[in-house]
């Protein structure tokens, strides 16, 4: 079945440093979504990318979808303690199959 690889598994940064997590698939994706899960919480939708080469920004967060629609990244500029949590990518392969495949996530911790 479809697999989505996400790296790194963990990332510890000092407040103010940048952070990037990467997501890769062996198959072409219909779209990719990013979610954030705070410790003890549930995943919260951040964004959906659909178009090849798409770049979207939300304040300090920048999301990219690769040209081949097989990879994606999330970059956070100047991290803050409120950014702490696990960031997941989730891929939808398209068609009538509504299955959403999540990566294992990247746990971000921020030292104030």
């Amino acid at each position: 079945g479809q697999q989505v690889m996400q790296i790194p598994q963990y990332q510890h940064v000092q407040e103010g440093e940048d952070f990037t997590t990467y997501c890769n698939s062996s198959t072409t994706l219909s779209n990719i979504q990013w979610y954030k899960q705070r410790p003890g919480g549930h995943p919260v939708f951040l964004i959906q990318l659909v178009k090849s080469g798409e770049v979207k920004k939300q304040k300090r967060l920048t999301f990219q979808f690769g040209e081949a629609k097989k990879n994606s990244s999330l970059h956070i500029t100047a991290t803050q303690t409120t950014d702490v949590g696990t960031y997941f990518c989730a891929a939808h392969s398209g068609g009538s199959n509504y299955k959403l495949t999540f990566g294992k996530g990247t746990l971000l911790t921020v030292n104030p």
Partner: protein, 114 residues
């Protein structure tokens, strides 16, 4: 507006027992999906229902079953519980309209199997 609600919040069962988890989607959402999240892992897709029909199934044994009711609420049933079924069970609702696949997750049900 109320978000996705799930019940119960926590549940403790013993091996071999049966469990039913419940989910109410956001008003107007006709799609409900179920996920299993083991500690340290991403959510794993179990089922997706849209308009009361199963539209997707993940790699879970037949012990797992689900259904969606006319009011779009849903139940997840797990029979013959195993220790490995201990996890956070998440329900997510979505509209699946206009090309948006955004999933709105509920707080989850924490299942512990002893």
């Amino acid at each position: 507006d109320a978000g996705v609600t799930q019940s119960p919040t926590h549940l403790i069962k013993t091996r071999g027992q049966h469990v039913t988890l419940r989910c109410s989607p956001i008003s107007g959402h006709k799609s409900v999906s179920w996920y299993q999240q083991v500690l340290g892992q991403g959510p794993q897709f179990i089922f997706q229902y849209y308009e009361k029909e199963e539209r997707g199934r993940g790699n879970f044994p037949d012990r797992f079953s689900a259904r969606q009711f006319p009011n779009y609420s849903s139940e997840l049933n797990v029979n013959a519980l195993l220790l490995g079924d201990s996890a956070l069970y998440l329900c997510a609702s979505s509209t699946i309209t206009g090309g948006s696949w955004e999933q709105f997750f509920g707080p989850g049900t924490r299942l512990t199997v002893l």
